[in-house]
């Protein structure tokens, strides 16, 4: 067997890297990381976290055939594989908030056992449905008396500041975070906050003052700043209170303006009546029962109503995608309230997450990420074909390339929503017709079934890739 590749993204950690072999996930622990891991593992703290569902289950590999693949490693761990990977810049406000609270909760529990986290990267957390889970087993090490919380800066940049951007300024963090990959700096956020917002003790302590000190340290002579080894550190109680206070504060954060968004109230006021929604639900149920998919993508999921239908009909897991920030938070609420295996993520389909980071392979792009068994693209294609001027044929080809089976809803020009979209502009879409849609779809797939949903021109098409 050839040398297993390091899964890009884990190469920075000197304590160990993650590898994939035959669909199994292994983590090596280097001689550098071994002592800390051994001590932490011996306390059984990691197992406690696994039991509460807060840490991905793992075991130390004994199989010699695996061990000999990693001659440099002190230990080899095997992890339970996660079904879907997502990144902080794809999370809604509430997903990021839940991730932040989990991180702090783990840090607080760990400190109680004299264990600390060595960093505070948001990429150390993944989601199973709407529930966060910690994935970096090597992020733990024994507590040294009076040590500082070294992850504080990273925690603020990757968790706190993106949340504050929305909570204080009503700006979603997704595009900014995707650009920087490492969150939002205190200095940048400080420049945007209003004067009154900066006066809060919490904002001063975690955003404004650290930024001020950092700038000052950078601008003065380097020799003036005390080295960390010369400082006397902080008491364990102080460390703990930092974590506890942050957790209290973050749990109170909410998006500043929960009411104004174009599609946020869609589930309540849209162009379908109850009967039409039922027709949609029935068609989806037939589709799911026939194709029996494990993983589905719900593209343009809005508040997740039809993901709910699909999951109840037997789909194992749904990843919802939408670009409306309020809609994906509503979908999150639905997923948690009804215990659905639905993970709603931010996606602008005309600009999906690319491969990026180091060597442009550290973070995997939208299409490369996974292969769903089925897709739902309901009340969606007109946003690309009309809204973004993307040729209808390309929209269909792109959707169909995502999964072997799916339902695409065609929204004709006679529909009120499209009428609104065209009301302020010239109608440059002579080829946007039901027959053009059907022809393009049957070029690359078999149309298994169709159902007219509204008299004004919404029809569902069930395709199966040839």
């Amino acid at each position: 067997m050839t040398n297993p590749d390091i899964l890009d993204g884990s190469f920075r950690d000197p304590a160990g890297q993650v590898h994939e072999i035959d669909g199994r996930i292994f983590r090596t622990v280097t001689p550098y990381g071994a002592p800390a891991f051994a001590k932490v593992h011996a306390t059984n703290f990691l197992n406690d976290l696994v039991k509460t569902g807060d840490l991905v289950p793992y075991e130390i590999v004994q199989d010699p055939k695996i061990i000999e693949l990693f001659p440099q490693a002190e230990y080899v761990l095997e992890h339970k594989r996660l079904n879907y990977i997502s990144y902080p810049y794809e999370w809604s406000f509430n997903l990021l908030k839940e991730a932040a609270l989990l991180h702090l909760s783990i840090a607080i529990q760990a400190l109680d056992k004299d264990i600390v986290l060595t960093d505070a990267s948001a990429y150390n957390i993944q989601f199973i449905g709407p529930k966060p889970i910690f994935i970096d087993h090597l992020s733990f090490k024994p507590y040294t008396d009076r040590e500082y919380w070294v992850g504080h800066r990273q925690f603020c940049e990757q968790f706190l500041n993106p949340l504050l951007l929305r909570a204080k300024l009503d700006v979603p963090h997704n595009s900014w975070f995707r650009g920087t990959q490492e969150g939002i700096t205190n200095e940048d956020l400080s420049k945007l906050l209003g004067f009154h917002q900066k006066l809060s003790l919490n904002v001063l302590s975690h955003v404004v003052l650290p930024a001020r000190f950092q700038t000052r340290a950078r601008n003065t002579q380097r020799t003036d700043t005390k080295k960390i080894s010369e400082r006397k550190g902080i008491a364990k109680t102080t460390y703990n209170s930092l974590l506890v206070q942050l957790k209290k504060w973050i749990s109170t954060l909410r998006p500043r303006n929960t009411h104004n968004s174009t599609w946020g109230n869609y589930a309540e006021d849209n162009t379908y009546n109850d009967e039409e929604n039922r027709l949609k639900a029935d068609f989806i149920t037939e589709f799911i029962q026939s194709t029996n998919p494990d993983l589905i993508y719900d593209i343009g999921c809005n508040s997740g109503a039809f993901s709910e239908v699909a999951l109840k009909a037997g789909a194992r897991q749904s990843i919802g995608f939408d670009f409306d920030k309020i809609a994906i938070d509503k979908a999150f609420k639905r997923a948690t309230d009804k215990s659905l295996n639905l993970l709603p993520l931010y996606l602008d389909a005309a600009n999906p997450s690319p491969n990026q980071g180091w060597k442009q392979s550290e973070r995997v792009g939208f299409v490369e990420r996974a292969k769903p068994d089925a897709i739902l693209a309901l009340a969606f294609e007109h946003h690309l074909a009309i809204g973004k001027n993307i040729p209808l044929q390309q929209v269909i080809q792109w959707l169909v390339s995502l999964a072997p089976n799916g339902i695409i809803e065609f929204v004709d020009k006679s529909d009120p929503t499209v009428q609104t979209m065209l009301s302020m502009r010239e109608d440059i879409f002579p080829n946007y017709t039901p027959s053009a849609f059907e022809s393009a779809l049957s070029d690359c797939t078999t149309i298994v079934n169709t159902r007219e949903i509204t008299k004004d021109g919404r029809t569902l098409y069930w395709y199966k890739r040839i």
């Binding site: 950690d13 040294t144 919380w149 003052l209 650290p210 950092q214 340290a217 008491a235």
Partner: protein, 88 residues
């Protein structure tokens, strides 16, 4: 020192111990983990030191306040004992 309950005596000796250990901590060159691969950021370290300092001062202040309260308690206790013996 008469009229002082055990609690206040404990508080007074404890605050002496805190003052002493404070001296020790300043001179103690505690080892910070040298192999952290993450840059904690100067700003973060400074603010943590400040918060730690405020917390220490607050604890010290709370103990000092306990002493003050104990002192006033002892005065009041003496007064009520006097007045109650008067009424007898």
């Amino acid at each position: 020192m008469t009229g002082m309950d055990d609690e206040s005596v404990f508080v007074m000796s404890y605050s002496k111990a805190v003052k002493l250990s404070g001296f020790f901590l300043v001179f103690l060159n505690t080892a910070q983990p040298a192999h952290a691969y993450l840059d904690p950021g100067t700003g973060s370290i400074i603010i943590q030191s400040i918060i730690g300092g405020i917390a220490a001062a607050a604890t010290f202040g709370a103990l000092y306040w306990a002493k003050v309260k104990a002192f006033f308690n002892s005065i009041l206790h003496k007064e009520t004992t006097d007045s109650s013996s008067d009424s007898k």
